[in-house]
Amino acid sequence: MQAEGPIKPFPAPAGQDLDNMLLERLSKKPFSKSSIAIRMSMLVLAVLTIYAFSSFDYKDVKLWDALILTIDNLKTMFFEPHLKHFTFTQALYQVSITLGLAFLTTIFGAIIALMLGLLAAGNISSKPLSVIIKGLVALIRAVPTVLWVLIFAVAAGLGSVAAVIGMTFHSISYLVKAYSESFEEIDKGAIEALQASGANWWQIVFQVIIPSSITYIISWTFMRFEINFAVAVAMGAAAGAGGIGFDMFMASGFYFDLSEIGAITYFILIIAICLEIFATQIKRKLKEAS
């Protein structure tokens, strides 16, 4: 049989008539429930915003003057930074205390969370145990770190002990969720294969689970370390845990030294950027390895 001729081209466009027909179709966009809901809530939000601005009690603050003064303060803070109540070396030492607080709580949290994460992962633990642990850590996670520190301050007194316990507590709950979810993503085939060969639970954990999820474990732990650094700064001020946060609290609440606040902010910013660069590099290395 002879092959058929070349594939037929698309029919030539019918011109204006077709365009009009399609435009008409396009204009008949179906009016769904969700689009009504979105429009209604946008409208309500707009009305509330206008009402709120018109009903503010501004007291004697004049918007323009206040704005100028704020900018002036920011200028003092960031363009004329200086250290007055302590030296550069001391500041560096204080930053290292804050870093130490973050490091300690992350390590404590990671070790305990690794164990709990294994018990919370649905694929390698029993169902009820997994549900109980997951529920418990969700509850702990729902309360902010600062509150946990203040709660533990009742027993330990305001200071570094309460900060360490409280921050560890929240780190555990955060990391248990992160770890157990990465464990659950592991291909269950390899676990099955080792079960079938007579390996026990601990052997499966260390020969399958940990090797398969090590990159996730490291990147989540580092992520928590970054969070803990920020929290440790706040804890220095809020819970008297020491470190650069406490100096910042003194500079702002005690000496009203805007320039010093600026200098300390730069310190924290530089450390945070360094951590970020370090974290990105680790992640890139891990990605290359996998």
């Binding site: 007579g198 260390f206 399958v208």
Partner: protein, 262 residues
């Protein structure tokens, strides 16, 4: 020859009420190569996993090497399991570990918990692993990461892991379903060789009737959770095969003439 595996009246009902297996009965002799064939969803995989209790059967009895698999405790079950090697369709290797590390996983059942956790294997075990890998033609890949291997190579690592257990029985759950014809032949040749020269009994789930006819001593046909055929490869007729798959005469692709080449 001695009977190695006896499956008596095994049924399996899943939680949602579907009956996967009903009253399965068969025996496997030492050194036999048995293929289980049947349509998808017939219960082949479930049947295989009931043998080493990866899935617990609802009722019935399985006797493997004089052990009542459903009457032993947890400790003894591990001992039963290490005498049964298992090979999977999707190879089930730990991708981030090297070929030899994956192969050595077969030894874990023999090791103490701590040695297993730390991955401490004796020189003997390492040498045995290297030997098995060499037999399977993987001696150049020993330290490669297993995710760098091709499908056929991965499956050979899977077989190596099972062989290192020194098993009496090899259960293969569709070992060639994800492989190209070339690698499939390599894998099936290895399995046949393991059976003939090492005397290890092989029970294999297959989708390819041709392959089953060519390699096995005996064929067990499963349909709807029941054994509908159980006999030697020589005695199977075209009619039997159509019955196993519940299809009309002439609607299947296979060739009885090609049986027993291996």
């Amino acid at each position: 020859m001695k009977t190695l595996l006896e499956v008596k009246n095994v049924s399996k009902q899943f939680g949602n009420g579907t009956k996967a297996l009903s009253n399965i009965d068969f025996t496997v002799k030492e050194g036999e190569f048995v293929s289980i064939i049947g349509p998808s969803g017939a219960g082949k995989s479930t049947l295989l996993r009931c043998i080493n209790r990866m899935i617990d059967a609802t009722s019935g009895e399985i006797i493997f090497d004089n052990d009542h698999v459903y009457k032993v405790n947890k400790r003894e079950l591990k001992k039963v399991r290490r005498k049964i090697g298992m090979v999977f369709q999707h190879y089930n290797l730990v991708n981030r570990l090297s070929v030899i590390e994956n192969a050595l996983h077969g030894r874990l059942g023999y090791k103490s918990t701590l040695a297993g956790i730390l991955g401490l294997y004796s020189e003997e075990e390492k040498l045995q692993a290297a030997k098995v890998l060499q037999i399977l033609g993987l001696e150049d890949q020993i330290y490669k990461r297993s995710d760098q291997l091709s499908g056929g190579q991965k499956q050979r690592v899977g077989i190596a892991r099972a062989l290192i257990q020194n098993p009496k029985l090899l259960l293969c759950d569709e070992p060639i379903a994800s492989l190209d014809p070339n690698s499939s032949k390599v894998i099936m040749d290895h399995l046949r060789n393991i059976c003939s020269s090492m005397g290890i009994t092989v029970v294999v789930n297959l989708h390819q009737v041709d392959v089953a006819l060519k390699y096995s001593d005996r064929i067990i046909g499963v349909n709807g959770g029941k054994v509908v055929f159980n006999g030697t490869t020589q005695n199977i007729t075209s009619n039997d095969i159509h019955q196993i798959y519940g299809s009309d005469e002439g609607k299947l692709i296979f060739d009885l003439g090609g049986s027993h080449a291996g």
